[in-house]
Amino acid sequence: MVGIAGERAVCDRRGVLYFPELRLLAVSDLHLEKGSSLARRGALIPPYDTGATLLRLQAVIADYQPAIVISLGDSFHDGGGAERMHQSFRERLEALMAGRDWFWVAGNHDPDAPADLPGETVRELAIGSLLFRHEPSAVRVEGEIAGHLHPCARIVQRGRSVRRRCFAADGGRMIMPAFGAYTGSLNVLDRAYAGLFRRETLMAYMLGAERIFAISHAMLRPG
């Protein structure tokens, strides 16, 4: 459990955030159809990423049965992604969306509403003291939950280095890890994060195989 601007949430080791009181599930940077997006430019990487990502999403939705799902932007790797999606994947996605409020937050990769899919497309979304948007704002906003940067963290322990995706949070705001199967990650100490967090309270919630590991700022290593 972590607190963000007074709301309590579960950082799930699978990379999603769940607010029990609100029955709200947030997931970020799905980057669906990244494989076919790269294939268009000649890199024929396996076309199974959309399937893999949806399968994992299906599992967390089945566990939490949320009333509200927020996909925090870059849900598709490019504007044409929803259109290119294989019919079977589209059906699976629609089945997941059925019976819930589903919000597509616009991202830099997918600024427009995904073609022919239900759900509401928004620039940002305020719920209680929380503000959901894709890119973290440069000016500090308490209660902001964003994605976009694909945070990961690295520790060195006994001469060995471990790097994992993570939630980055300082009690006031949070940046979520990327969920998509082909998404890379950027160290939370990179200069892209400069000024976003209060250093002294920054924690990285690193994703483990069985659980989340809460690591304080002082233990983190760049690179």
């Binding site: 076919s36 294939a39 268009r40 000649g42 890199a43 024929l44 990487i45 396996p46 076309p47 199974y48 990423d49 399937g51 893999a52 294989h86 690295r154 520790i155 060195v156 322990q157 006994r158 001469g159 060995r160 280095s161 471990v162 994992r164 199967a181 082909y182 998404t183 890379g184 990650s185 690193m206 483990g208 195989a209 069985e210 590991f213 809460a214 690591i215 304080s216 233990m219 290593r221 760049p222 690179g223």
Partner: protein
């Protein structure tokens, strides 16, 4: 079957055109028998493999057929079209091609031949390459990668249509890798252009010359023919017997370790007594350490230099130049200096650490006194006691002339994918014809049509069961039945990614002035270091690189920033490459020596003593047996096995044994492997388990561990991911990295890992995963070696239970704790880090 040259049968004057005879005469030389023999065979239309020791005039022999033919060729009349390449010379090293240009240019000029010779390597400027296409030289000296590029060019057929000879230098070192596969496919393509093409292979002595002889000629049609086609063979007997000794140190030879620090004063004395000493080591980290230690001992400030593959190119060239000018007294080097480049006047080779293979030893020793008739002088410095045995065995083997070059492996499918795309970039192809052509290449002679079709499918659309990428195909079959590239961009991408050498992500080591920290700029680049090593450093750590102690400042983009360092706790970077397994042949020799106490007389007294003690306290296994010792120590139980199959095979064995012991309830805690033996430790008494046959020792070491256990372990192994990345880059699935590109190595690594995970769970039979498993089994895991061993020792395992550790077990036991923790321990490390936080926060 060796055919000795018979000079008497041939009349040199008939074969050699007049100007050559005159030239030999002026020099006061006469052509060597094998040179004439090779010329005669080539003129009779044969392809030939020439096996000769260094200094035998191999190069000139190889070029003789081309030069004599070119000498008698009518001159091109003005206005006549330019002729294509006459002879293609391919060498594994750029530097070797450059060297040959110089060495061959001299006789050509002196004889007055109208022959043009040029090199074409990655360093050749664009305008020169362009000009070479328009006005090709008679003889082109190049590398395998450049050949692949030439074939993928649209004018390839015209460029090569006049080709007569292809000469492969250092063939033995070219053929054992994926690079050799790509080259074999390139040669098959050349044969497609010019069916009458002749090849000449130049090689050092090898165990199986027939493999190379097949490699040199087309293998089709293989149907029903009992003996596959082979090139002719000419063998020149070895030169003077080398004078090799093992350092009989006055110091105590250590139990374990690889530094040979104990022998530094004696090595230094040897350097002082000789003109130029070449010091070979097996790994780059050993090179760094040895260099450092020698300079510490270097009271006379002798010029001693360092040379290894991670150093900056400029620095390496300076060392090579100084060597050529005989300005150095000693050079510490790794395998980058292995091949037959002739530099300077080396009169002593010192080999620090065991040579790991008799062939490698012979090759390295050949570097001293690069003249055939004088004996080379070499000293072996074993770094620990097992290495004493190994050096002794290698030495005996060298006298026996035994050779143990690694066996050739079946053609890799990732390389074939690259070639198929390359062919399409050159010209549209017919799949049936290309299949036949590819089967003409020896490594692919047994390729099945179904596999070939899957490769073509992979090149076209990725070859996935989910047919999602038809519209993005890189090559397409058009109405005329030919496959062609779908977009010019495909050919551009291909050219950038050609080749089979995939480097692990590396960082430049950038030097800044001390005290400037990360703000420092503009210092020189000292070389490259593997990224994963840099990641384990903390600012302020000192490490050894390029012969200097450096202080780690931090990582900035793709650079590892360092300043002058000092102090005690110096770390030596380890490199993933450069670890050779003990050759099968040598391993057998070592086992033989252990079993036969009459041979111990040849060993230093302290080592012979150690073996006698082992015999007294435990047992020494017979040559074909596997000794397994068990003993308690502290509150743990140990099992030590002595297969002598090399570290890679032992590591795989350790992994598999631990899994099995886990299932048997022995609660194993870990294992450690050396080149010679393997130790496993557990909470429970393994000897008791074996006694109760739960399981028996025979069952524990049963070959069936290579089935499901191996499969299960493989799937989670980081080694497989690493191998997959290499295959994916070679096959053109992901792109190579280039300096200046913003994409960092890590991002490529991550995405290769992610691709691997996704592909493995959705299409485990994909051709690229198949290629990956094949590679990993042969390479990093050395499964074939392990399989041979397990089958050999079936029913021949000797179990000895002891009350305490045996003398033979000391070296491997000393390794415990030096090795990093293995396997699923990543989570443990995270837990520790998280716990530290809780502790500090007082919430524990």
């Amino acid at each position: 079957m060796t055919e000795q040259p018979r000079l008497a049968d041939r009349n040199a004057a008939v074969l050699l055109p007049e100007p050559f005879v005159k030239w030999f005469g002026e020099k006061g030389w006469s052509p060597r028998a094998h040179q004439i023999e090779l010329l005669a065979r080539a003129q009779a239309g044969q392809s030939v493999l020439l096996i000769a020791p260094t200094g035998a005039g191999k190069t000139l022999a190889g070029f003789m057929p081309s030069l004599t033919e070119l000498a008698s060729r009518p001159r091109r009349k003005p206005g006549q079209a330019h002729r294509g390449i006459h002879t293609l010379y391919i060498s594994p090293l750029k530097a070797l091609a450059v060297d040959i240009e110089r060495n061959l240019g001299k006789p050509v000029e002196e004889i007055g031949l109208p022959v043009t010779i040029e090199t074409r390597t990655g360093d050749t400027p664009a305008h020169k390459r362009q000009r070479q296409k328009l006005v090709p030289p008679d003889i082109l000296l190049t590398t395998p990668e450049q050949l692949a590029l030439l074939i993928a060019a649209p004018d390839a057929r015209r460029f090569f249509e006049d080709l007569r000879y292809v000469i492969f230098d250092e063939l033995h070192s070219l053929v054992t890798s994926k690079r050799g596969h790509l080259l074999a496919l390139g040669l098959a393509r050349l044969r497609g252009y010019v069916p009458g093409l002749q090849t000449i292979g130049l090689s050092a002595t090898v165990a199986e010359p027939d493999e190379l002889r097949r490699w040199l000629v087309g293998q089709n049609p293989p149907k029903n023919s009992e003996s596959p086609a082979m090139a002719g063979l000419i063998t020149v007997a070895g030169g003077a017997k080398p004078d090799i000794s093992i350092l009989d140190s006055q110091e105590r030879v250590p139990w374990s370790g690889h530094s040979a620090r104990y022998a530094i004063p004696e090595i230094y004395e040897a350097i002082k007594k000789h003109r130029t000493t070449l010091l070979f080591v097996n790994t780059r980290s050993q090179a760094e350490l040895l260099f450092q230690e020698l300079w510490r001992a270097n009271e006379d400030a002798l010029p001693i230099a360092l040379h290894h593959g991670s150093l900056d190119v400029g620095q390496r060239r300076r060392v090579e130049k100084a060597m050529g000018e005989n300005a150095l007294r000693a050079i510490v080097a790794t395998s980058t200096l292995d091949l037959g480049i002739d530099w300077g006047d080396v009169d002593l080779v010192v080999h620090v650490g065991a040579p790991k293979g008799a062939s490698r030893l012979a090759q390295r020793i050949g570097r001293a006194n690069h003249r055939m008739d004088e004996p080379s002088k070499a000293i072996l410095i074993p770094a620990n006691r097992f290495e004493v045995l190994e050096c002794r065995a290698a030495l005996d083997a060298n006298y026996l002339g035994a050779q143990d070059t690694p066996p050739l492996i079946k053609g890799a499918l990732d390389v074939l994918s690259q070639h198929v795309l390359g062919v399409a970039c050159g010209a549209p192809f017919d799949a049936d014809l290309l299949f036949e052509e590819v089967r003409g290449a020896a490594p692919y002679a047994a390729l099945e049509r179904e596999t070939f079709d899957r490769v073509v499918d992979f090149v076209a659309t990725g070859g996935y069961a989910l047919k999602n990428y038809e519209r993005y195909a890189r090559i397409r079959r058009t109405v005329d039945g030919l496959w062609r590239v779908s977009h010019p961009r495909v050919a551009q991408q291909y050219r950038l990614n050609v080749g089979t050498i995939v480097e692990m992500p590396e960082l430049n080591v950038r030097y800044v002035r001390q005290g400037r920290g990360m703000a420092g700029r503009g210092g020189p680049v000292l070389g490259k270091i593997e990224e994963y090593f840099a990641e384990t450093l903390r600012p302020g750590d000192n490490f050894l690189f390029a012969g200097k102690v450096l202080r780690f400042e931090g990582i900035r983009e793709n650079e590892c920033v360092v300043s002058n360092g000092a102090g005690a706790n110096i770390i030596v970077p380890s490199y993933a490459g450069g670890k050779f397994p003990l050759s099968t042949y040598l391993a057998d020799q070592v086992r033989g020596m252990l079993a036969d106490s009459s041979r111990w007389q040849a060993l230093p007294e302290q080592v012979a003593d150690w073996l006698r003690l082992q015999k007294e306290k435990s047992v020494l296994p017979k040559r074909g047996d596997l000794l397994v010792e068990t003993f308690p120590r502290g509150n743990r139980h140990y099992m030590v096995a002595y297969p002598f199959e090399g570290r890679l095979a032992h590591q795989t064995l350790g992994m598999l044994l631990t899994r099995r012991l886990e299932r048997a309830g022995a609660r194993p805690l870990g294992f450690v492997a050396t080149d010679y033996s393997l130790a496993v430790w557990a909470l429970d008494d393994m000897a008791a388990l074996f006694k109760a046959k739960k399981p028996s020792l025979g069952a524990l070491f049963d070959e069936d561990m290579l089935g499901d256990d191996l499969e299960a372990w493989l799937n989670d192994s980081w080694m497989l991911k690493r191998t997959f990345r290499t295959c994916a880059v070679i096959a053109g699935l992901i792109e190579k990295r280039f300096p200046g590109q913003e994409k960092s190595g890590r991002q490529v690594t991550v995405s290769a890992d992610l691709i691997y995970d996704v592909l493995r769970s959705h299409e485990p039979d994909h051709i690229l995963l198949q290629a990956t498993r094949t590679d990993a089994s042969a390479g990093l895991l050395d499964v074939s070696r392990l399989a041979e061993m397990l089958s050999r020792v079936r029913g021949r395992i000797v179990h000895k239970h002891l009350e305490q550790i045996s003398p033979l077990a000391i070296p491997v036991m000393l390794e415990i704790g030096k090795e990093p923790v293995n396997g699923g321990a990543n989570e443990t490390l995270l837990m520790e880090a998280a716990d530290l936080v809780e502790e500090a926060m007082g919430r524990g």
